[in-house]
């Protein structure tokens, strides 16, 4: 079991896949620092929200993900 990262919208293009498994435990700083380039810049920015196991974090910097958790990285939304 690992931590499953889910990339939504443009983040999936930048990551090259919609999902990726990484080793846990994982905090927000560790997650951001593990990505380079445009994806790293997006993750370090203000516009990304984060959900753990289907619950959106009020403060993404409080992230603590363990083995088996699903962490979704959510860029700005646009529907309708």
């Amino acid at each position: 079991m690992a931590v499953k990262l889910v990339f939504l919208g443009r983040l999936a293009d930048l990551a090259g896949a919609p999902e990726r498994e990484v080793a846990g435990p994982l905090d927000w700083t560790g997650l951001v620092e593990s990505f380079q380039g445009e994806l790293g810049e997006w993750l370090a920015g203000e516009r990304i929200k984060v959900a753990v196991n289907g619950t959106v974090l009020a403060d993404k910097t409080s992230l603590t993900a363990n083995e088996g958790d699903e962490v979704a990285l959510l860029p700005p939304v646009s529907g309708g």
């Binding site: 919208g9 443009r10 699903e70 979704a72 860029p75 646009s78 529907g79 309708g80």
Partner: protein
Amino acid sequence: MKDVHLLTEPFNPGQLVGPFTNAHPGLGGVCTFVGEVRGGEGVEALELIHYERLTLPGMEALADEALERFDLMGVLIAHRVGEMHPGEPIVLVSAAARHRRAAIQAVDFAMDHLKSDAWFWKREKRGGEWHWIDPRPEDHADLARWDR
């Protein structure tokens, strides 16, 4: 009555609105908005992405909020995901109420939230290439009208 659908295939709005309307005998009015993929502007296709764990629960919560906030008998929300072409419906909101204003306002409220405060990501294909669509400042201004 709350009727919420996340649809992966093309849909006919009338086939949802008809039964929804019939389910509310005694209503004074039904307000319905249908959003479609706009033609022209070089858009060949539109794709909407969702996230299983958030999108449908978020739509359910939005419907609950509309029911709590406006004097409604029922609300219907349907939203497409997947690839669509110009002329195809993307979104449908319908509200039934005893009096018109509640129905009209509830649809306006739900649409503003679906545009920029629901878990969807949208991209357009133009000239054979996909482009992600960011929310526009107007979308956020529309949403802010409902702050309280």
